[in-house]
Symmetry: C2
């Protein structure tokens, strides 16, 4: 099943929701207007459709293999990655003075979606490199930047994030990898890291590991963790590769999905110590790592959108082709393609509405990221930073949870064929399952939403978002159409449910933390549902406006109105139950004694 | 991860919800009281825990293989099946005069759950044999019964259901397999059947295929389908095996889950025709097949309960062992096992509440089946038959949908380890995905619920169920406890939502079928949620009563009260959104033009 990038929907969101015209007014982004977006997206679509997407099934059937410390990726990956590098795709969002193209995230994020739709396993390698680049840009010394940055931005070398250890997953306080300082200022690393994506592979000549470890004498817990660069091959003064470093891949995992992406166990220091270089200052590693992680969390949210889109396309193609049974309304005399059946339609519309809404949320978030980072006005930066930070757990948590519902529906649309691996629908179902886990589980995102993003400021940002949503409701009502009215009603109910929960979180998180955290994931799901639905409200308004003026693609715009209304009537309505569960269900979550489980 | 059969919870449901004392008053079931249930369940638990469960992971790792028409099952399956047969388990629910034990479904269903928890792939072989037995009992001639019945009931031979063809899945009107009548009264079959579970294997000496096919000159569509027995080996007059019949397994599928269970493509008649024998009368095949299918649908619902139970046990074990992070309430000074964290608890309680509620619904349904079939009073039979038929789509549809949510949560509880196949949680996630598809997809169950079970009688049975639920609400309120009151409130809201939808279905299914069928699956989910929740209400009342009288296991009974309350506060609350979606969302399901997908 081939992949066709949804360039039209992406450009609609970039133009009307992310407002690329405003992004292009920010110094540094002057050339990044709608025309640039269109040109980049079209070229990106071509590359991913033709080069990367065809490797998705082969990657699942013939995963990366490990032998004697060497990892061989699926046939074709190395060549595709070479083309990715040659096309300059790795540097898309990175600074021009590091060899990148300096495009805004508003454009880059759409490219991330395409790459992940085409092939999530493949896309993970560049995604991790992006994280390493972010960390070096933020906290790396000039010396480190000089050695590593350009090669990472070009894609000549790739990067990894080394956080997890067997005893330290969500809880990084338990990290035990040790870093011993050497006379020359470098360190020697000793320890075991697990779940290291692309920790070893054959697609690049060097791999730059960003590693959390404890320097000698560091305090216990998260305050004693430092961040180190530890390359696979040491780098000589002239930039050429030197000796093999003492970090080795001792095995790769046998996984449910994303099988082509090697998930490595890395052993540091079994032969005298792996040479590592401190990034920034000692004991500030977690802070730097969060920078990488926030970028990665956003990207994982995009992976959710991406795999949902691919599953949707797959299901639509099957539903338009498979003939089975007569329509219940008698609209076709004999057997019809199954897309005529209401429940198939409900499933496809659900998949479509979730995907479009989460894409809209993510691209809107990308624009706020761009403003937060590069806008000349400090107040604008601040407002956008707060909004973006509020969105990150929603983009990560909600978009990935929804992707599992969507890929499950995708299998279901295929009926018995969906269960047969050759059909391809099952791969999305398997691949998507990692998304609610890595880069912080949904519960970790929800803790972030409850603690840092809601309780800490007394719900101020959350209520600000609600006010903006209320304005959209009013605009919908004022627009006068039946679809807009329906969506406004459902948005209003959802917003009120959200405000009830925000008050509850703010009032209760100190006095009854168990009650609040028992509802943290439902709160995340409510907030994500609402904010994504709000973007559908904005999309509906924009589409109606264009229809009125007669500009744009009529069928596309009418479909947007219909899809937005569907989102309200079938997805936003879930929020009331989440509110009830959060406000009234806390006690029963924790009531069962441990021995009774 | 070992499996421990939840005998205590099963016996609680059998005693207090299914009311085995009443079942044991039905002629033929006099010996099938609580003591018998307990003895059978304990022996069944031992067998499944020790013999069948240890083969679950090996079956996933080393699925059945096909070579030159022969299927070899996973090492150990053949021996375990021999023990299954020797233990008399195949005949548990079948008539004594066919060599069975004649136990009620109220007991047999619990045994079906255990077998499926232990090993769903293994359990499918006996499940299909049960279907073949049912069909022969219902419609087979004495001659056919004499030849096949005892050998199927003993488990010496196994059975299959042959419905699906490449072009005929949910839509059996499209069946093309041909049956040519021979001079001796037998038929010769020609055609291709796909998705035939255990269509070929090495665990029994003969395989008895029940096959849908068209006799020459039969009408088109479903009214021209007949049912045939077609054995792998023809049977001589003395019961010994004769010539190999012309039905051959030409391949098996590569599937997402239940990998040990061979899913066969069977080719009939490539060498002159497969000898088949008509079951009952020509052109009544679909009617007979529905008998098998209704039994099978119930059993698939039980598979949902079974795999949810196994996933729950797996997740609890991990949550009690894995140490990570400090509890948010400060109840433990350092890092704690993750079962201390509210979101892990929420997930485990969700898994538990779904599983117990669906088990209770299924066992209650089993008791009504027993009364419907064997009660001496015709009126009692009729009432129970109607109730049972209303329940079947809920047991099949709701329990399997919930099992996918539960197994997904099971992976999530394990965090990153859940994605690693060796952990075992992913297998349940993969295995469960077939349950909403085979024996009729959830949409097919929902069509049945809307059409035959609700609209046809003007909602009479549905409203009768609602009245019974209302009585339970009153009893809960009257009991005076806080937990009971909370559950009563949530039951009432859910019941009212259900009644709104029943009225809508009855009023609208003729005039606007698309609107009703657009909400058919949400209606099924609403009804299943409510009826399962109702059983939790009955369970809560029984548990409270026992706690008051001081009899029974206090910790178990208190856990039941807590779990029931949780079900109300976290699961029943979903019903309002389903109602809103059904009543107000029909139009947007079908509004998008086909070209816009």
């Amino acid at each position: 099943m081939s992949y066709k990038a949804p360039v039209k929907d992406m450009l609609f969101a970039i133009e009307h929701l992310a407002r690329i015209d405003q992004v292009a007014q920010i110094p540094g982004f002057e050339d990044a207007g709608l025309d640039t977006a269109q040109a980049v997206l079209e070229e990106c679509a071509r590359f991913n459709e033709e080069v990367v997407a065809p490797l998705n099934v082969p990657g699942d059937l013939h995963p990366s293999t490990w032998k004697d410390g060497t990892v061989t990726t699926t046939a074709g990956f190395k060549d595709a990655f070479r083309q990715y590098v040659e096309g300059g795709w790795q540097g898309l969002q990175h600074p021009v003075d590091a060899g990148g193209q300096g495009l805004p995230k508003t454009i880059g994020a759409a490219c991330v979606e395409m790459l992940n739709s085409a092939n999530m396993s493949f896309a993970l390698c560049p995604l991790l490199t992006d994280g390493a680049i972010e960390a070096l840009l933020t906290a790396g010394s000039d010396a480190l930047k000089n050695i590593y940055l350009e090669k990472l931005v070009s894609g000549q070398w790739t990067g990894t994030m080394n956080l997890t250890e067997p005893q330290a997953g969500s809880d990084l306080a338990l990290v035990r990898t040790r870093a011993d300082k050497q006379a020359d200022g470098s360190y020697k690393l000793f320890g075991t890291k697990i779940f290291i994506t692309y920790g070893e592979h054959d697609m690049a000549e060097n791999i730059v590991h960003l590693v959390l470890a404890r320097a000698a004498g560091a305090p216990e817990g998260v305050k004693g963790i430092s961040l180190f660069v530890c390359p696979k091959f040491l780098v000589n003064g002239d930039g050429s590769l030197g000796a093999r470093n003492d970090v080795h891949c001792v095995s790769i995992e046998h996984k449910l999905g994303i099988k082509a992406s090697p998930t490595c166990v890395l052993q540091y220091g079994d032969n005298g110590g792996a040479v590592g270089y401190l990034v920034g200052e000692e004991n500030r590693g977690l802070e730097y790592m969060f920078i990488m992680m926030n970028a990665a969390r956003y990207a994982v949210g995009m992976e959710g959108v991406a795999i949902a889109e691919r599953a949707y396309q797959h299901a639509v193609a099957y539903a338009k082709e498979r003939v089975q049974s007569r329509p219940v309304d008698g609209s076709v005399a004999g057997s019809a393609t199954i897309i005529h059946h209401p429940d198939i339609r409900r499933m496809l519309m659900t998949m479509r509405a979730y995907t479009e809404a989460c894409r809209a949320m993510a691209l809107t978030g990308a624009a706020s990221f761009d403003a937060a980072h590069q806008h000349p006005d400090a107040e604008v930066r601040k407002v956008n930073q707060a909004f973006y930070e509020f969105l990150v757990p929603l983009i990560k948590g909600y978009s990935t949870e929804m992707s599992q519902e969507v890929t499950s529906l995708g299998v279901q649309v295929h009926g018995g064929m969906g269960f047969i691996e050759e059909t391809g629908a099952a791969q999305y179902y398997r691949d998507s399952k990692i998304l609610t886990i890595y880069e912080g589980t949904t519960a970790i995102q929800a803790n972030d939403l409850v603690g840092r993003k809601t309780a800490r400021d007394g719900g101020q940002v959350a209520k600000g978002v609600a006010s903006q949503i209320e304005a959209t409701e009013k605009a919908l009502i004022a627009s006068g159409s039946e679809g807009a009215r329906s969506l406004a009603i459902n948005l209003e109910k959802a917003r009120k449910a959200f405000l009830d929960v925000v008050d509850f979180v703010v009032d209760t998180s100190k006095s009854a933390p168990n009650d609040v955290f028992a509802g943290s994931v439902p709160y995340l799901m409510l907030a994500g549902n609402l904010v994504a639905g709000w973007q559908m409200g904005r999309a509906l308004l924009a589409a109606q406006e264009l229809l009125t003026t007669g500009s744009g693609d009529k069928a596309f715009l009418e479909a947007k109105v219909t899809t937005a209304r569907f989102y309200g009537e079938h997805i936003l309505v879930k929020t009331s139950a989440l509110r009830d569960e959060i406000l009234h269900g806390g006690a029963s979550v924790m009531a069962l004694p441990l021995d009774s489980f």
